[in-house]
């Protein structure tokens, strides 16, 4: 059963709230790394990519240069090229809306949009999730950067487990069909294997090969469960 637009909006708002908690941790970490409050806030508004922001601030915190920080942040952001490609069917928009959509193109909005069987529901899911996460992420960053000293280490509250949990919840709809499960397993194996071998960012991008391999190896209808559960949109 596919979710109604109302259920999608509700999920988008809840997802935003959860990401807001991670935004608080980002604010705390950014201020600990020496970023001023305006700078931490500006980064969340204009870069608006949690993983890249954490990577950049992590490099700064460990004494790295600005250039190294930006390099690692951008490398981690290369997966957005793949997201843009994956969203082509969900976002049949005119050029100007596409330019706005690009700023809201993040892990969460891509996952929510591509999880919907109906492309029109997916379009709504993209905008609602992108907007909700944008508001909460920025509010969280400001709060974390302003009150970081009082909050302390975010991992004490288990906030570092929010990302894996959120990604798992967003992955779940893709696991209903056999090809999706194969692609997820291959992507996870490739990504994990490359973590110790390559700079941060490369493993996730390389995981794209899991989709390519699955398309080659797994037949369209010959796999168990593939025809009955209809994983393709």
């Amino acid at each position: 059963m596919s979710p109604t637009p109302h259920e999608v909006r509700r999920a988008a708002v809840l997802l935003g709230a959860a990401v807001g908690l991670v935004g608080i941790s980002f604010g705390v970490v950014a201020s600990a790394a020496g970023l001023s409050l305006p700078m931490a806030c500006a980064m969340s508004v204009f870069v608006f990519t949690g993983a890249s922001q954490f990577a950049a601030v992590g490099v700064l915190a460990s004494g790295g240069s600005s250039l190294a920080a930006i390099g690692s942040g951008l490398l981690l952001g290369t997966r957005h090229i793949a997201y843009g490609l994956a969203l082509h069917r969900v976002l049949p928009l005119d050029r100007w809306r596409r330019l706005l959509a690009a700023q809201l193109l993040i892990d969460e909005s891509t996952a929510m949009a591509t999880a919907q069987p109906d492309p029109r529901v997916g379009t709504g899911a993209f905008w609602w999730t992108g907007a909700s996460v944008f508001v909460c992420w920025n509010a969280g960053t400001a709060a974390g950067a302003a009150f970081g000293d009082a909050i302390g280490d975010p991992s004490t509250y288990g906030l570092d487990a929010v990302f894996p949990a959120a990604f798992l919840a967003l992955l779940a709809p893709h696991l209903r069909g056999h090809p999706g499960r194969v692609a997820a397993a291959l992507g996870a194996a490739i990504g994990l294997a490359l973590v110790p071998l390559t700079p941060a960012g490369v493993p996730v991008v390389a995981a794209s090969a899991g989709a390519l391999l699955t398309a080659i190896l797994v037949g369209r209808n010959d796999a168990p469960g593939a025809s009955s559960t209809a994983p393709e949109r």
Binding site: A42, A102, V162, A165, A188, G210, T214
Partner: protein, 100 residues
């Protein structure tokens, strides 16, 4: 980090986000390409789940985040709502970290 560096970071991030959307545009794609793109989110998010659980400073580690991921998996399997999944992961990870 200077404001100029921050500006470069923002511009680069935006370019990466816009690239895929702009390159493909509204063109129809061959069915083979379409099939790979449909499987792309599964592969990327499959990788992100495990990397964000086991990666720390470009090395693989096992720490209390594993407990959170297991709790999240149970919650997802029981078809719990999104917020329940997140809160289950955070609270179990925090609890595990207190006794780790």
């Amino acid at each position: 980090m200077s404001w100029a560096a921050l500006g470069a970071f923002a511009a680069g991030s935006y370019a990466l986000k816009a690239a895929g959307l702009v390159v493909i545009g509204r063109r129809a794609l061959p069915s083979g390409v379409d099939r790979v793109l449909a499987l792309l989110p599964a592969a990327l998010f499959g990788a992100l789940v495990l990397i964000s659980t086991f990666e720390l400073d470009e090395a693989l580690v096992v720490d209390p985040r594993v407990v959170g991921l297991l709790a999240a998996a149970v919650a997802v399997w029981r078809r719990a709502g999104f917020m329940v999944v997140i809160v289950a992961a955070a609270t179990t990870t925090a609890a595990a970290r207190a006794v780790w």
